[in-house]
């Protein structure tokens, strides 16, 4: 059923338009004299809070070890299927041989990524972080598919609380030296 609304006639004050004009001027002056809310982007840049979800990146630990072990959980959880990992193994004799696994390639299609942060949340190795980069430009689709090298360049180094693999290696070395639990 259509609802019929009764239109009330304008009052005298309304007919003069003055209250509305003054109301508008009030807002104008308030903003003119008050604190600025815009900034001169791009010369000026906003402060990015720590929990901001920018471009997903891969990180190294403070000892320079690549943290990703290519468990592919982020690839699994990624809602728009932006992540594609080619798993690989760490060759024998490598400094990080004990970690056994590392990605051969790690692709994130930034055109697909929706910056939801699920990859960061699911990562058991704390290797992927959505950091403060928020402005991405590219001139082709290929350019915006980021590969492993680019992702590590963007990611840099993040502090580590656990050094889980270093602890593991130390235990192995202890054991080899005969001081370990086994």
């Amino acid at each position: 059923m259509a609802k019929v609304l009764e239109r009330k006639p304008l009052t005298f004050a309304e007919k003069t338009y003055l209250p509305q004009v003054l109301g508008g001027l009030k807002i104008t002056f308030k903003n003119m004299l008050g604190k600025k809310v815009t900034m001169e982007y791009p010369e000026e840049r906003p402060n990015i809070p720590d929990n901001y979800r920018g471009v997903p990146t891969l990180v190294h630990d403070p000892n320079g070890r690549e943290k990703c072990v290519s468990c592919q959980l982020c690839e699994f959880v990624c809602p728009p299927k932006a992540i594609r990992i080619t798993p690989g193994s760490i060759p024998e004799g490598d400094e990080h041989e004990h970690v056994e696994k590392a990605p051969q390639d790690f692709e994130i299609n930034m055109l697909r990524c929706i910056y939801c942060g699920m990859c960061q949340e699911v990562c058991p190795e704390e290797a992927i972080f959505l950091q403060d980069v928020y402005s991405l430009v590219g001139t082709s689709r290929e350019e915006l598919v980021f590969h492993k090298k680019k992702l590590y360049e963007l990611g840099g180094t993040r502090p580590d609380q656990h050094y889980k693999w270093d602890v593991k290696k130390a235990a192995e070395e202890e054991a080899l030296a005969g001081n370990g639990h086994h």
Partner: protein, 569 residues
Amino acid sequence: MPEDASKLVNINIDGQDYKVPAGMNMVDAASYCGVEIPHYCYHPKLTVAGNCRMCLVEMGTPMRDRSTGEPVLDENGVQKIGWMPKPAIACASNATPGLHIRTNSDLTKACRTGVMEFLLVNHPLDCPICDQAGECRLQEFATDYGRGYSRFVEEKNVKPKRTVLGPRVILDDERCILCSRCVRFTEEIDENPVLGFTQRGSHSTLTCYPGQELDSNYSLNTVDICPVGALTSTDFRFKMRVWFLKPVNSICTESSAGVNTEVWSREGKIYRITPRRNDAVNDTWMADSGRALYKQVEAESRMKLPRISGNQVSLAEAIERAAELIKSGPTAYVASGKLSVEEQFLLGKLAKVKPGSVYFVDHSREGDSRLISEDATPNLRGGLVTGLISELPGERLDALADALKAGEVKTVVSFGENLINAGIGPELLKKTDLVYLGTHRNDTTDLARVLIPTLTVFEKAGSFINRQFRLQRFLQAVPGLAGLLPDVVVLTRILGDISGDKTPDPSMTELWAEIAQAIPALKDLSFAKIGDSGVELDGSAYDNLPFHEKPGWHYEPKLEPATTSGSSF
């Protein structure tokens, strides 16, 4: 399995009455009734070890008076149940009349939590780099019954992480939960007892006997039955997480044993082949060599483009030219047990539309008296059942060579058979109008007038009849190579071109409707009816044929096997 499976007994699980075959193992009996009893060391095809303690349940039997043997009744006149004071392992008990178990009581739950905690004490928890993650029993039961957090503050044991046990198996000792399935497998099934535990307690380590390695052709079964990620396959190691892989039921083409398999693929790429349980054929086992067959899909020698006299053409042109050559004839057809039943049926139709002799090539070699039979083709019996041949083929095609020399045959259609190996010289082949349908390049393909590349077993559906005359089907696991068509479609189109009566490409259902009508032995069957475990056909009509197969697992030859002529295949 019970001795007399027809006899059912009443058991009671969690207050519910069920009927199960007498003597059935209680772990199996519970799963038969739809109740899961978690277990690690129990495996239906191995002896009971009872060392993981995960299947602890409360157990009770109907009470009887010790002196008189009379049933003890409660006030309602129902026989009382005497519950054992302590939990018992379900895997070491068999279904007996009136047996009661409780699988979700407080005691049972406490047992499982306790066992899980002990198993996880020294477990490295390296699921992110463990290939078993996603199909790991330890992961599954830890989420189902584990505490969720660790109380263990001491240091975990350190054990060898990357022991190479054999050419195809790598051991991570820290992940091992000492269930001994692999040890029992090598001893009982493989009869090559090279594995064992050394040290004691939590220091126990799975080890290969000094100077030996786990190099049997059945070694990868240990990887399949390992409930955790301790034993991993060198080939599959770190290749792909299992939760991305899609399993498709298939049949191994390695030999006429017809091992049931699962082909695991992601986005059209096959990553591994594992055995599928079929108690009538291969139990839960499979040979290592059969697992590598998926590599043929991306092999370098794979043919991808149709050709006429060496020049690239479209598939339609190649089919048209093949039909012309077959029609001009006189024609002979060379096939073997590599073709599926459907393809053999269509070949039979072709040989009726354009009459010509059908030759089969024998592919015999040494077997291993297990799951690799003496016949290297999966479907020789299909040729018998579809009526293409009535006798066992020979290795050489001397009759065809004579006919070619005498000019009695002008066109030869080879279905993946290397004619040069079968005794037809290259000079003779050059003078022949050779139509070749096959997947991989060989000496013969270079000489073919018309070359039609076809699809491998992984890229098409069909069925094979194995050495037990068991009809089993395989499904398409991955899409075929771009531009190529399944053999049955190619054959149907050639048939249409020759007879002038073009029919649409048949679906499996349509094809089987036709097959069931035309072949008495396959009457009443359809592709769907073959099911996942296959259908046993009556092979008694062929009992007097001297098949090459010697006795193997689940196979006894009817006649004394003929001597195989050597190792060539």
